[in-house]
């Protein structure tokens, strides 16, 4: 059994649509700017990566507009594009052999904030009936499943920023269990006052006012991260089934994966990230020297950058592998981050081009070969993607060029 990616749909702060995202990313164009979705001028953190030029009415049917949060509309759009990219038509596989597994960090926060305001200011009768599910973590999975008639094994993974990888791993499990196609990944976002203060409480948000210096992972000036919205939805298929239905293209294989959890703080035990990377490589049957690029989690918080750099050095040796963080152009997309980086890794394989990390002056003590100053042309056959979530989630996923 081999799980391959046959379709990609992207809604990213630096590009709406896969090719717009990829072109901007290779050019080093950032989508980080002042928050536009609400007035953040009196909040300590005022920058975000927001998806540009997204007009919901152009992408989402009228019936779904009253019942969807902004991030669900982005997810439905990415899912449409992923299926179109895969050349998938309903009936290509039996409905019960095709499912949806997405990741979410917070559900539909903006929708939920509006309805909670209605509840407390006007009363329960003024709360939308659609609040019953529009806020929910699994809503992107459910809406996508209904819209495309994908009735097979489905679910949601909630592991904060690690979720985008964990969902793809769950898709691979479902293919091993007999499903033939799983729509997977994460599209996330909660850029609204309620979501904003919740993120501030996490303590990691950058209070920088300059988009060029607010989020600087692996840089001596690192002082937090900028949050963003968006992500990627991928069509993950069993390889033989994809071939049998005549899939238009195969971007690559989900070759390996592992997840670990950090030990309790204060125990002095090593964080789990190194082990996640080693186990994912083992799962892929790949030696460290076969890895052509690492897409880093890139927390932008000195302690966490140090842990990640240490894990990469321990596995690959100092400067032993190119490392990049295109999320310096989007901000951290929570559950959308991992799957967007998987999309970038697959496009790097396709084009032989590693996208850059922007704005960062690498801190030499980290010992990383960070790709800065522009994209790097390189044959990419195997890529490692790392993602972490608040509270101790570590995930690592290996993608490989199709055989």
């Amino acid at each position: 059994m081999s799980a391959v990616v046959t379709g990609i749909g992207v809604t990213s702060p630096n590009g709406l649509g896969t090719e717009a995202y990829w072109a901007a990313t290779c050019r080093g164009e950032s989508g980080i700017g002042e928050v536009r979705r609400f007035d953040a001028s009196r909040y300590p953190a005022r920058l975000a990566g927001e998806v540009p030029g997204f007009v919901p009415e152009e992408h989402v049917p009228s019936r779904l507009l009253p019942q969807t949060d902004h991030m669900t509309r982005l997810a439905l759009t990415a899912a449409d594009w992923a299926l179109a990219d895969a050349g998938f038509a309903p009936g290509d596989v039996p409905a019960y052999a095709a499912g949806v597994v997405t990741a979410s960090s917070a559900g539909g926060f903006e929708f939920g904030q509006r309805e909670l305001r209605n509840l407390w200011s006007k009363g329960g009768r003024y709360v939308s009936a659609y609040q019953s599910f529009a806020w929910f973590y699994a809503v992107n999975t459910g809406q996508t499943s209904i819209r495309h008639g994908l009735k097979g094994p489905s679910g949601v993974v909630v592991s904060d920023g690690a979720g985008g990888l964990d969902a793809i791993a769950q898709a691979r499990r479902q293919l091993r269990n007999g499903s033939r196609l799983i729509l997977s990944g994460g599209v996330d976002g909660s850029i609204c006052p309620w979501g904003w203060v919740a993120q501030m409480a996490g303590g990691g948000l950058s209070t920088g006012a300059d988009p060029a210096t607010a989020y600087l992972p692996f840089d001596a000036r690192a002082a937090g991260y900028v949050p963003g919205e968006g992500g990627a939805i991928l069509v993950v298929e069993e390889a033989e089934s994809a071939r049998a239905r005549g899939a238009r293209h195969v971007y690559g294989e989900i070759a390996g994966y592992a997840a670990t959890f950090d030990p309790q703080q204060g125990t002095g035990r090593e964080p789990g990230l190194r082990r996640a990377i080693e186990l994912a490589l083992k799962d892929a049957g790949a030696a460290p020297d076969e890895v052509d690029v690492v897409f880093a989690d890139a927390a932008g918080i000195p302690e966490l950058d140090g842990v990640e750099a240490g894990a990469i050095r321990a596995v690959f040796g100092p400067g032993g592998v190119p490392v990049t963080a295109p999320k310096t152009m989007t901000g951290r997309l929570y559950a959308g981050a991992g799957s967007l980086d998987v999309a970038a890794a697959l496009l790097a394989i396709r084009d032989g081009r590693i996208p850059p990390t922007v704005n960062v002056v690498p801190e030499p003590a980290y010992g990383l070969d960070l790709v800065v100053g522009g994209p790097r042309e390189a044959a990419v056959r195997t890529a490692l993607v790392v993602a972490r979530g608040h509270g101790g989630f570590n995930s690592a996923l290996v993608v490989r060029a199709a055989a």
């Binding site: 049917p61 009228s62 019936r63 009253p66 019942q67 009768r125 003024y126 939308s128 009936a129 659609y130």
Partner: protein, 82 residues
């Protein structure tokens, strides 16, 4: 008692405001006896519509009763005749 009867046009407007416009259906046509399901509106859309009618016209409408209305005619009868 409400000031006036709720008409089919009122219902059309409130359905669209609360639950959007279905694809491939002519809501402006003769829909009085067409089942909501065939119009593209599910039970939650009807609940939302009932809540909006309560807000706008101050007509108390029981959720469970509203959910039993299968067509615009049945729904309007419930609203206007209790």
């Amino acid at each position: 008692m409400p000031d006036r009867q709720i008409t089919l046009d009122d219902l059309r407007r409130i359905l669209v405001e609360g639950a959007g416009t279905p694809e491939g259906v002519d809501l402006g046509g003769d829909i009085i006896d067409v089942e909501f399901a065939a119009l593209g509106y599910d039970s939650i859309a009807i609940l939302e519509t009932a809540a909006r009618i309560t807000q706008e016209y101050k007509i108390p409408l029981d959720d469970d009763a509203a959910a039993t209305a299968r067509t615009p005619r049945e729904f309007l009868a419930l609203v206007n005749d209790g």
